[in-house]
């Protein structure tokens, strides 16, 4: 029985507990490369892409990189867009969210790629992503048990409980009970 269970343990590939990873490498049309590069590099100076991408509470870490030279001596005809997202829901739901809520963002970044099916609808985009998704390998997450929502709730709770800890330093047990109940009331949304 234990051998069966052992063989059923998830191994390799792109999931680790709740966390999963989508990786893609797609060519960019030559005239569009400087535009994509500029959009990426300017993104940290405004909140547009940040707010749009992180409105979905399922992304841990996400990155885009543009390069043409894979290694010294191997420079390609096209520049390639490397995309990696670490998230906590099935990837089809992930694509639905982006395809229907922020389709313009996706079209701006990938829209000048070859054969890119601009969303919506989401189904052709899912097929395109399935075609380009880089599978296999190994994936590690330092907190595989926690979704992004759980983690954000934990930050809120931790901040409030540190406050309770400071407040509680000189309290009697009876006074502490009142402070504790107040903290529980404040944290209802995060428990």
């Amino acid at each position: 029985m234990s051998a069966v269970l052992d063989s059923e343990r998830p191994r390799g590939r792109n999931t680790s507990g709740r966390a999963r990873c989508l990786t893609m490498l797609t060519p960019i049309r030559p005239f569009w490369t400087p535009v994509v590069w500029l959009i990426m590099r300017s993104a940290r100076y405004h909140t547009y892409f940040r707010d749009h991408s992180l409105q979905f509470k399922f992304i841990y870490y996400v990155r885009w990189a543009v390069f043409r030279e894979f290694s010294a001596g191997e420079k390609k005809r096209y520049s390639y867009l490397f995309f990696e997202s670490n998230f906590d829901i099935p990837w089809r739901q992930y694509i639905d969210a982006f395809a229907y809520v922020i389709p313009k963002d996706i079209r701006v970044i990938w829209g000048r790629g070859f054969s890119f099916p601009g969303p919506p609808p989401a189904e052709p985009l899912k097929r395109w992503i399935a075609m380009n998704s880089l599978e296999g390998g190994h994936y590690h997450s330092a907190y595989p048990q926690a979704s992004v929502k759980m983690t954000l709730a934990a930050f809120e709770a931790h901040d409030r409980l540190l406050r309770l800890k400071r407040e509680a330093a000189g309290l009697s047990p009876e006074q502490f009970r009142k402070a504790f109940d107040a903290a529980v009331a404040d944290l209802q949304r995060h428990l």
Binding site: G12, A65, R77, F114, A146, L161, K165, P173, F176
Partner: protein, 187 residues
């Protein structure tokens, strides 16, 4: 994100940094006769007991072998890779060189990276070798740019523990409740 955090991020000149987080992206040529072995080794690793978990500053690590590029169809002109590549990415806290030195010290790192061209085991040489294969990110993003792995794990521990105390609070005396909370919020 507050103004202070916004300006901290906006003033970072390294495109791989985002607050305390660093996004390392590398493409490393694999020795052609080692690609199969490397791929098999990576896929045999348990993601829930990953050797890369020993990197205390790493939030997530991804390794995979790519052998060719995906042809998108006309009007793209088809093109191919000259050799297989190991894609190694990591999202971690702090400085790149420190991370790479810690990576070099992992026994499994030698096992994996020795399948790649030009691998150097000596830590200083390993750092330089990895840096030579680094690709700058255009944009790198996380909802918690100023939280370290330890911050995340501590918040999750406290959150879970507090929920347990809340569940049992009605059956405890006030003094027991206070003691339980103190134990949870240990320094």
């Amino acid at each position: 994100m507050g103004l202070r955090e916004y300006f901290k991020i906006a003033s970072q000149l390294d495109p791989n940094q985002y607050g305390k987080a660093y996004g390392l992206t590398t493409m490393i040529p694999v020795l052609p006769d080692r690609a199969d072995a490397l791929e098999a080794r990576l896929e045999s690793l348990d993601p829930l007991a990953s050797p890369f978990g020993a990197l205390r500053q790493a939030h997530c690590v991804r390794l995979l072998v790519i052998r060719d590029l995906v042809y998108q169809g006309a009007p793209q002109k088809p093109e191919h890779l000259n050799q297989p590549y190991l894609v190694f990415t990591a999202s971690f806290d702090g400085e790149l060189d420190r991370f790479l030195r810690d990576l070099a010290a992992l026994p499994e790192a030698g096992e994996v990276f020795s399948c790649c061209k030009g691998y150097a085991a000596e830590p200083g040489a390993f750092v330089a070798w990895m840096r030579s294969h680094k690709k700058d990110n255009g944009y790198f993003l996380t909802p918690w740019p100023f939280k370290t792995v330890q911050d995340v794990q501590e918040a999750l521990r406290v959150h879970e523990g507090f929920q347990g105390i809340v569940d049992e609070a009605r059956g405890m005396s006030d003094a027991e409740l206070q003691d339980k909370f103190r134990a949870l919020m240990r320094p």
